[in-house]
Amino acid sequence: MNGAADLGGMMGFGPVVPEPEGELFHAEWERRVLAVTLAAGAMGRWTIDESRHVRESIPPAEYLTSSYYAIWLRGLEDLLVAHGLVSRDELAAGRAAGPGEPAKVLHAGDVAPALAAGTPYTREMATSARFAAGDRVRTRTMHPRGHTRLPRYARGHTGTVVAVRGGYVLPDRNAHGAGEQPEWLYTVRFDARELWGDDADPTSTVDIDAWESYLEP
């Protein structure tokens, strides 16, 4: 979707402000939101793609004026309500109205193994890859209402496949509960001037990772 999260190429946000290496949080609640988001995700009721989609669905004016963990908090509230695990009334009241339904709960002893295992997104493909490194490809012009990982700035442009990454779960479908529908994933390189015009740095390139259905011919 063309949401506020799709920021590449926008202007007017000012300089990038660096930060020392050890500084990860700016308030205690940010720590808690990180942890609650990961722990709630471990219940397995939604995919990472769905969680990205709820965040990009936050109205642009709110998204752009919210801090990072405030976006995570809003996203988690929306996911919990959408999946019937918590009600809007409970959020408004700030306390549970009743017990939860049976759920897969991440316990403290499971945290290290769960984080170390991660969630692999590669899948065996029954078909062979349509493109190979060196192929010239064009990204589709598309404006889906649902989730996609093809940024607006990279749509409808010609680039070169620089790597074939393997079969990966397709976020565009997985975010909406339509199954994993894995596709071949490619790294595609664009000259900066192809994306941004004659004023762009002629020595720069931008790579994206693009699923096969994002690409033509």
């Binding site: 946000f13 700016h26 408004a92 939860g100 945290v111 997104y121 994933l185 931008v206």
Partner: protein
Amino acid sequence: MAGSGTSVEARAAALEEILVEKGYVDPAALDAIIATYEHDVGPRNGARVVARAWTDPGYRQRLLTDATPAIAELGFGGRQGEHMVAVENTPDEHHVVVCTLCSCYPWPVLGLPPTWYKSAAYRSRVVIDPRGVLADLGVTLPASTRIAVHDSTAEVRYLVVPMRPPGTDDLDEDALAELVTRDSMIGTGLARVPGEAS
């Protein structure tokens, strides 16, 4: 009340309480998650990988060929680093990593991303004006150095192997790892030269 008019801090506290009351999250697990990313998993992991690549040509080759198992050799892997790719900076080409759509970042080797990495300023601009962003962060590269920006739009996570600084031939792997900054592994900085303040 913790409705939409209340502070984000109050909403965060209320949500945690609701989830604990409903039995969906274990408070001890929350503390364990925070401790993991505040104390155990951070950019010192990635610095070990880079220092090994600088000192062991066989390891460097494995890292650049298939990064996930090479990184696992040093004991690092897992969430948000399931599918790693390492890219090496040279005098001719400098790599910079971003996630314009959200905040994808290689957690097992770099930990949680810094605020600026997740900011609208960085995500919007580094793809269209990488040299300008590098200048904001104090990095000026020769005009002849190509800049390759990597927008992490899938589950592949990128680790930049910075150039080994001059004057480090006598340093061992531990001393070299000290020179590898977080930003040098994102591509928004360079490795420190010996004696340079951290």
